[in-house]
């Protein structure tokens, strides 16, 4: 998994029928220091994530292991909203402080 920040939404009406009802969000990759990286993915949402939230996303076949994405043609899923993470004993991100430290 990688850290990501929800930066956008995607709307599609003409799509594979298995995808009805799934939300697609634009996720920008965040590195362990909390810095936004020039890397993104469009992921299915399985946890009710919202714009600006910091999440974990999984890719590949693992993206189909949630109830909402089972057997569907999606290769990325948001499977957790991050509360906090620490690197070398230092808190880099704390959701309760709405605080994403960017270098």
């Amino acid at each position: 998994m990688l850290f990501g920040k929800i930066t956008g939404t995607v709307v599609s009406t003409m799509k594979d029928k298995k995808l009805e009802g799934l939300r697609f969000l634009l996720v920008q990759v965040v590195d362990p220091d909390g810095k936004l990286m020039p890397q993104y993915v469009v992921a299915a949402d399985s946890v009710g994530a919202g714009i600006d939230e910091t999440v974990l996303f999984a890719t590949g076949s693992s993206a189909r292991q949630t109830e909402k994405t089972d057997n569907k043609p999606v290769d990325a899923v948001i499977m957790a909203i991050v509360d906090t993470w620490d690197v070398n004993g230092k808190t880099i991100y704390d959701k309760s402080k709405s605080d994403l430290i960017t270098v």
Copy 2:
């Protein structure tokens, strides 16, 4: 998934027999700002996408989860045609305006 723009078509008569009837399209990757990237993939089409359309494509085993690609040796599938997408509250792409903003 990633955004892509359909830029070409591929014709093959000598191929694995499971691939009969599948259309192969050339897809150039588009970044969240709507800019064409120097990255491409040949994908099977599951939604009737046409030249110049902006789509979402999925790769890996997820590419086999549509009705048209089930159990077939394809590692990329176009599974949605994009109507619009937004980044940080700003509309980057709107199909109804036939408008792909490129930086």
Copy 3:
């Protein structure tokens, strides 16, 4: 899938027993403009491809979806020989003209 050109052959006698009878070919990646890229893969052949032919190859679990590669430990398969491809309405490659346009 990506475009590739068959540039070589690989011989192995000591191998997993499931691989008996499979041909391994060296494939160099070709970009949409027909240019050879500094990127390669060793792929199992499922279509009788020969040296210098331009092909499509699939990677990952999809490489096991042909009759010849079913359940075998291979992560790349040549699943089609390309006749022609077009980009933006221009024919880049046409096998009948034995013509690979390289930039």
Copy 4:
């Protein structure tokens, strides 16, 4: 698999229900010379790894092949704690000496 060093922990309460009870650790990639690389992954822990330990992690669908990660939406798992590794007959890392040689 790649070598990694556990550098942090991740806490998430809102997540896919299958993920209950799994520990997520931040893993920084280590190269064969024992050097920390600017590359990381968040992995599920299946072996009780702790901060600063040097481990092996697997990605993709293989990350779901441990008892703790079976059928769960995770794409990376720590599946071994490394005791030692050698390159060209020279010991690069020896856990008993708590010694990670970094170049």
Copy 5:
């Protein structure tokens, strides 16, 4: 698959129980010209490969398709020892001559 040269060994006692009895080898990637690349992977051995041997390795779910790796949390497997390979009609590597041509 990619070409690799076995350059080292990895020892681990604390690991997922399914991994008992598997050998883990350090594999450095070799390009089609026989040149060692700055890229490596730790792979499970399914063919009895030894230090300095030139092999083929497969990654992803295909790494679990050998008898020794079936259902195990490994994402790379050595599935063949290479005898020879040719590029554009020229032999680049011939095991019987213990000869790896490096540029």
